[in-house]
């Protein structure tokens, strides 16, 4: 019954929203004419048409953005984890580095974007670097927190077994920090497609064919192709869902057995 509701209710509200959209567009068209309406508030079916007509070019753009997002995301997660380990290894390391990491984090990446372009040039390298910068800090902040907040009693338990530092890291700190790390990774995963598109807006180029999704936004905007812009938004949304979906799945797979955050129901 609840499952039925979960599918049925969004379906109804979706139909309703579509209806509202059509009526507003229709009223607008009656007042301003269909030509103006098309470039201000296109009918949903016009957006679908645009999506179909532009499918080839949008597919290439999506692939490029997805690639940049994935590379930036993997780099952010990997380097974020390594830096967290370093920060958690000794108090003096964290004391000396963390304030500067915070300073860097507080600087909006969009402000840094032109500098990246200046340094490493237009195109994929800059886009990836911007994606990396956006996803990096949530990973570092969360993972470091997990690594240093390990339960005091568990550390004493390891001490009682004369565990080596390596054993303590491998069998205690790393698994203990896993939920924290995965939370950071989820945030990075949500930000990665956004970062790749934002990076594309600054550093995108059509060298060798077409640019990414951000580049298409600039292009369609300059040509006043509004239904195409909506179609691009739809594609970007879809990409975001896929990204977040994959990361959430990973989160669930790694923690399903033991962590409160994903344990849906008790077995007993």
């Amino acid at each position: 019954m609840n499952k039925l509701k979960a599918i049925f209710l969004p379906f109804i509200s979706g139909i309703l929203l579509l209806g509202i959209w059509y009526s507003v567009a229709f009223v607008y068209a009656k007042n301003e004419g269909y030509e103006v309406q098309r470039i201000v508030i296109p009918f949903p079916h016009q957006i679908v048409e645009a999506l179909w007509d532009e499918r080839a070019i949008l597919w290439i753009a999506t692939r490029q953005t997805a690639f940049a997002a994935l590379v930036g995301f993997i780099a952010a997660v990997t380097f974020g984890y390594v830096l967290s380990m370093l920060l958690a290894s000794a108090v003096w390391v964290k004391r000396s580095l963390y304030p500067w990491i915070l300073v860097l984090q507080m600087t909006p990446v969009v402000v840094l974007a032109p500098i990246f372009v200046l340094w490493i040039g237009q195109g994929l390298p800059s886009i990836t670097a911007i994606t990396f910068m956006i996803g990096f800090f949530p990973v570092v902040a969360n993972t470091t927190m997990g690594l240093i907040s390990t339960d005091r009693n568990l550390i004493e338990l390891f001490e009682m077994s004369n565990a080596s530092k390596t054993q303590e890291i491998a069998y205690l700190r790393v698994p203990y920090a896993m939920p924290y790390f995965l939370t950071g990774m989820k945030i990075a995963g949500t930000l990665a497609p956004i970062g790749a598109i934002a990076g594309d807006l600054f550093a995108g180029s059509s060298q060798g064919g077409v640019g990414g999704i951000g580049f298409m936004v600039i292009l369609y905007n300059s040509q006043v192709k509004v239904p195409e812009l909506f179609a691009t938004a739809f594609v970007a949304c879809f990409l975001g869902f896929i990204f977040v979906g994959c990361v959430n799945w990973l989160h669930w797979m790694l923690l399903k057995n033991w962590h409160e955050s994903v344990r849906a129901t008790d077995i007993e």
Binding site: N153, L154, L157, M160, P175
Partner: protein, 256 residues
């Protein structure tokens, strides 16, 4: 150089040991010795340093003055011979019961086959053979504590340090675990230090009870429990047992 063991040497020897945290004296000039096979309970008002006492023996805290030795060794060098059972069961939530019990021997580099064998054995001993594949969250408080006890037993310790292990459990579960603990002790013959708030629990388990006074923690009294060595649930109904519990309770009140 090997010194032959002397049967009269106490297993745990605490000489003039004090512990300060900053300016606060938590334990003040403690002197106490325990022979092999003793079951010593530590009771006293909260904040009297019972846990600190235990952690001094474990070498988790270092004495600010005086000395603590286990079998003539510094506690840190005697870890092989002891096991610590913590206030909450302190299990790794990402490990199943069996591999939680294996942890101590795994950290000491025991081979996988050997440590699994031992883990199964001790889990049988604490009555958890049916729950090997469970995760800690699937267990009740009492079962978790049984896993924790099993983990402590895997390395056949000579000295067991228990930091108020049953404090969070309901009375029935606690009584049952007390009985099981004595049953296992009769089999293995280890020596134990046991921190508790409960006079009844202390009397039931121990042959000696240390009553600590608070601020600073000093030994107010050492009570010898004169009850038969073999004890089971029936003991709790005897008048002699009840009299001794009342005696210990009075002593704790006086130590305030």
């Amino acid at each position: 150089m090997l010194i032959p063991p002397n049967p009269d040497t106490p297993l745990v020897k605490i000489e003039n040991a004090s512990k300060c945290f900053g300016d606060t004296i938590v334990l003040d000039r403690i002197n106490f010795s325990a022979k092999k096979g003793d079951f010593v309970s530590l009771v006293g008002p909260s904040g009297c340093g019972k846990s600190t006492f235990l952690k001094l023996i474990a070498g988790l805290h270092l004495a600010s003055e005086g000395s603590v030795t286990i079998d003539g060794l510094d506690p840190k060098n005697a870890r092989e011979e002891m096991a610590f059972i913590f206030q909450d069961a302190n299990l790794l939530p990402w490990r199943r019961v069996l591999s939680n019990v294996e942890l101590s021997s795994q950290l000491r580099g025991v081979s996988k086959r050997k440590r699994q064998e031992t883990a199964r054995e001790v889990l049988e001993l604490v009555g958890l053979s049916h729950a090997l594949r469970h995760f800690p969250w699937q267990l009740s408080g009492g079962m978790k504590m049984r896993v924790s006890i099993a983990r402590a037993l895997t390395l056949s310790p000579k000295l067991l340090l228990l930091d108020e292990p049953f404090g969070a459990l309901d009375e029935m579960t606690r009584d049952k675990l007390n009985e099981d603990l004595l049953r296992i002790k009769a089999r293995d013959g280890w020596t134990a230090f046991f921190v508790t708030h409960s006079a009844a629990e202390a009397v039931f388990l121990s042959n000696q009870i240390i009553v600590l006074s608070a601020k600073p923690g000093r030994i107010a009294e050492v009570i010898n429990v004169k009850l038969p060595a073999f004890r089971d649930a029936d003991l709790r109904e005897t008048s002699e047992y009840l009299r001794q519990v009342a005696n210990v309770s009075r002593s704790i009140r006086k130590a305030h």
